[in-house]
Symmetry: C2
Subunit: 237 residues, 2 copies
Amino acid sequence: MDFIGEPLVGKGVVERRFDLKVEDRLVPGIVWTPEAAEGTRPLVLVGHGGSLHKRTEYVLALARRLVRHHGIAAAAIDGPAHGDRPAVGPTTDIRAWWTSTGTDEMVADWSATLAAVQGLPEVGNGPLGYWGLSMGTIFGLPFVASEPRVQVAVLGLMGITGPTADRLAADAAKVTCPVLFLQQLEDELIDRASVLALFDALGTKDKRLHANPGPHSAVPPEQFVVSQEFLASHLLG
Amino acid sequence: MDFIGEPLVGKGVVERRFDLKVEDRLVPGIVWTPEAAEGTRPLVLVGHGGSLHKRTEYVLALARRLVRHHGIAAAAIDGPAHGDRPAVGPTTDIRAWWTSTGTDEMVADWSATLAAVQGLPEVGNGPLGYWGLSMGTIFGLPFVASEPRVQVAVLGLMGITGPTADRLAADAAKVTCPVLFLQQLEDELIDRASVLALFDALGTKDKRLHANPGPHSAVPPEQFVVSQEFLASHLLG
């Protein structure tokens, strides 16, 4: 884990950019922790949506609120071919990243990120949560399914659809932690039946669906607050 | 509007029991307002669920929070054959109250209650909201459909089902205000398809569905907080 440049410090939040070597990939990430933090605390891994990056507005806002309001650490990494990763055509071309190999690699990248971030003494092996919608669910749901230490997850804007539909359905059954699942009622990318099918496929009984008005990218601001409180209530006990 | 007994005053909330004559019926109600309130304020009408009454725990809690946290007035009335109304067999016998006539009468009772409560100088003709689940939707949805002054509503635990299914479907189309609709994923009384059908039938585009784990009566406590904030955000502007 190589820290890049100087930490950004503001309003009690320390933001550190890092690169992590995973297999033959250099994974660009950010970790947010409270200023002068000491000792073990909960951690939330935050997955961004397609065509965005690890410091996109809503990721940054959620990470900062988790740190400031709850003392919870947060970390984000760029998705495949996104952000500071090597480009593979335009990031809006889903064929460049929505693949079975891309999923396996991203799960490995999250696992390595988890180990590296929890290796920081001011994070440690505390309770673990995951937040990620759309592409953040395409890769995050398989990660949550693979990682029994994840105690709570916010997922959504996705269905049993696309190039990894079968993988998503199979991995959903392995998700056993409490889940908040978000849906947009006028989602122009993901049809409603496939969203409900993915929600229904989640293995956990402790799941709730919030379906909101508007298109794919119009998740209402209050749902980020709801997300934050849902994560905190499970991670802080 | 005849006030019954002395007001209950506690923690800044004044609770007044009233009876209201509507056609040949004596409608028992309660109005909650802030202590020493003066002038116009928003009002939320709260409809209770079947077999319960106007002062059942969650109605009382919601009313008190609306008053204390937001300065919003609240009012509740007993449903037909419920609470202080004349009994018609056990209140758990839905045939006693789930009828087309019962719906018409309850809509008239709510309309008269609205006029009486808004006639109080400490309430006045302010913004209006409605909250009611299950039986509170069976009667409340037709009331909301009939009353264009309702600016926001929380409905749910109901589908296009039962003795007034056609009425609910037709009235849903007339609901044009923002709606939060609550669903229980293991609802043993109302099947999921009928819930989604009623949600879909709502005429407003500004609607969101929160589907939570558990049976009919297990609405999670945080959804009452979400309800309160949803109502307040729309009524206080």
